[in-house]
């Protein structure tokens, strides 16, 4: 995160082109709006193509028995909800959901704490070894998750963390992205604010809690969303580290369900739908933040 990424990142509502009628150049206004209409139509059609697989899954999930096995494929829902009821009864979905929610929330909380503390240390405090620690944290970016499954599985076996919540939370309880995002906020904020408070005699933790945390709140929101999604979507790690439904998250449950279910494709479609629906709702509610986060990633390379 090399520059002041977030504050001045373009929000989705900010359209650089809107205030630039010069784009019309030599063309007539009529030709220009015609061209815009074509572009808009193509964009919306492409967008619909991207969401079509979700729609089609819903169609299959309410199909009548044997609904998937026909050609041409069915494209209109039959509203047969019995597939949903059957799929819901065949696996401990409530347990899976609660596990996922618990693991994701705990991971988010841990990441926020570690990011704020380390971001404060790297962005505000001065101490011997600071650059070394920052490089150490950055080096984590080079060490990919797939490489880690072998040694971390050995480690988890060693400390008896296999098939626990711990192994699904603690190793993901710090985020390089989070640490450096918070640091960036501290580096770019007006320095006098922190100093003034410290002159007033407040201890560092108090300054951090009462002044630092409110100041970096936008960073915290972005970290929370990213970590929550990453935790919910993770698969390889919990697939390896757990083996009972008591602690397994919903994606591992869904994958196991998909191999148990055999030819009951409408049932599996129902399960895929009701396990994904919460995330889709979550995304639609917070889409502004998602989109701003992705847009600002470009700012960081500038």
């Amino acid at each position: 995160m090399s520059s002041s990424t977030l504050q001045d990142a373009p929000s989705p509502g900010h359209k650089p082109g809107d205030g630039a009628p010069s784009r019309r150049g030599g063309r007539t206004a009529g030709a220009w709006s015609g061209w815009t209409l074509v572009r808009k139509t193509v964009a919306v059609l492409l967008g619909l193509a991207f969401v079509f697989p979700f729609y089609w899954t819903f169609v299959i999930s309410t199909a009548r028995p044997g609904g998937f096995y026909r050609f041409p494929p069915q494209l209109i829902p039959s509203w047969n909800w019995s597939n949903w009821a059957r799929a819901w009864d065949e696996a401990p979905w409530v347990r899976f959901f609660l596990n996922t929610l618990f693991i994701a929330s705990a991971t988010v909380l841990l990441c926020l704490v570690t990011s704020v503390l380390a971001g404060f240390a790297f962005g505000v405090l001065r101490f011997r070894g600071r650059n070394f620690l920052m490089l150490l944290v950055l080096s984590v970016l080079m060490m990919p998750g797939t490489v880690l499954i072998i040694p971390d599985y050995v480690l988890a076996t060693d400390i008896h963390w296999v098939d626990t919540y711990w192994i699904q939370i603690v190793p993901w309880g710090a985020s390089v992205f989070g640490v450096f995002l918070v640091r960036q906020f501290f580096v770019t904020m007006p320095q006098e604010i922190l100093d003034a408070a410290s002159v007033d005699g407040a201890g560092r933790l108090r300054v951090l809690w009462h002044i630092g945390v409110p100041a970096v709140r936008p960073a915290l929101a972005l970290i929370a969303i990213n970590v929550f999604m990453a935790s919910w979507n993770s698969f390889l790690w919990p697939e390896i580290m757990t083996n009972t439904t008591d602690v397994q998250p919903v994606e591992v449950g869904l994958s196991a369900f998909s191999s148990d279910v055999g030819t009951d494709i409408p049932g599996l479609a129902a399960a895929a739908t009701f396990t994904t629906l919460p995330l889709i709702v979550f995304f639609l509610l917070l889409q502004r933040h998602f989109i701003r986060g992705a847009l600002s990633a470009a700012g960081s390379v500038k």
Partner: protein
């Protein structure tokens, strides 16, 4: 936590006079300079050290052994034996696995980056319709790989799937998609582009938004057509963002696992989609040959470092994603 709370009460009233007298016992320098920085960074550093940094080095160590998972004390030292086995393994051969990984990575770089640049240019300006299209294109990226891979298994189904229905409507011959050796990897790439392109499109859009309007305007005044304007004005300014996307895409593609696991059950026909990442899992975890899996992981690690170093060399504009 041993927090040194400020020198007693009453400091706030006489701060001003203390400063005037040149006696700044609790100056901002004291506030900032403190070895306690180690303590504040400790939680994050410990997590990284314990679960990422030390384990990465531990992988090197494990790769030198015929590792016994149930009782590590019973492991036998093999030296570079696991690495020799890499070269003699046959089903699939190491070279084929490596080639599959690179096939997927290059495919994702070319088609993922190309598609997202095209989509970004399409969605660049405009109001509600474009905003809605952005949300729809981003949606797959926000949904889990497992659920979406399951969906695409049906789309790719040769008999009843939607992909072949589309081909049928276009009067094109049906394909076997994930079930034939030649189309399995392209199918996984198609799925992955669908899943990932929303994010990279938005990164490009972010890059396009900060490109200065004036240069483009100047080019148009000088009579540049849209294509020339893109090639000579927009594209050069997008280079840093493109580098960023290529590096991010290459690293995540080398790591890709879930779509292979769910979409082609790992191997695919004749191991057409067995990648290095999948093999680490299969050999090291499923088949329990931990030492051999570790050797594969070391190779994957070295390739990733190589890609990261390439980024370091090419990331223009001050350090890329990092500091």
């Amino acid at each position: 936590m041993a927090e040194t709370v400020a020198p007693a009460a009453g400091v706030s009233q006489d701060t001003g006079s203390a400063v005037r007298r040149g006696r700044r016992p609790r100056s901002t320098r004291d506030f900032r300079s403190t070895p306690l920085g180690w303590l504040y960074s400790a939680p994050a550093v410990l997590v990284f050290a314990g679960f990422v940094i030390v384990p990465t080095f531990y992988t090197f160590y494990v790769s030198l052994w015929h590792w016994n998972v149930l009782n590590p004390a019973m492991s036998t030292y093999k030296g570079l034996g696991n690495y020799r086995d890499l070269l003699t393994d046959v089903d699939p051969t190491f070279a084929q696995t490596l080639a599959n990984s690179l096939y997927f990575t290059v495919g994702m770089i070319v088609f993922g980056t190309g598609a997202s640049l095209g989509l970004a240019l399409l969605l660049m300006r405009g109001g509600k319709a474009m905003g809605a299209a952005r949300v729809m294109i981003y949606l797959p990226h926000a949904t889990p790989l497992i659920a979406t891979s399951i969906i695409w298994v049906w789309i790719f189904n040769p008999q009843f799937g939607f992909a072949n229905y589309l081909l049928h409507l276009l009067h094109l011959p049906a394909l076997q998609w994930t079930q034939s050796q030649s189309t399995a990897m392209p199918s996984v790439i198609l799925f992955s582009v669908w899943h990932e392109v929303g994010f990279t499109t938005l990164v490009f859009l972010g890059g396009l938004a900060v490109i200065s309007e004036e240069t483009g305007e100047a080019a148009r005044v000088d009579g540049c057509g849209p294509w020339r304007e893109f090639w000579y004005v927009t594209w050069p300014q997008l280079r840093p963002v493109t580098t960023f996307i290529v590096v991010i895409t290459s690293i995540t593609s080398l790591q890709a696992f879930t779509q292979f696991y769910q979409l082609t059950s790992g191997g695919g026909p004749n191991n057409a989609t067995t990648t290095l990442s999948y093999l680490v899992y299969k050999e090291g975890i499923v088949l329990g040959d931990t030492g051999y899996g570790a050797a594969l992981a070391v190779v994957l690690f070295l390739i990733t470092v190589l890609f990261t170093l390439v980024r370091r060399r090419t990331a223009v504009g001050g350090g890329g994603l990092t500091a």
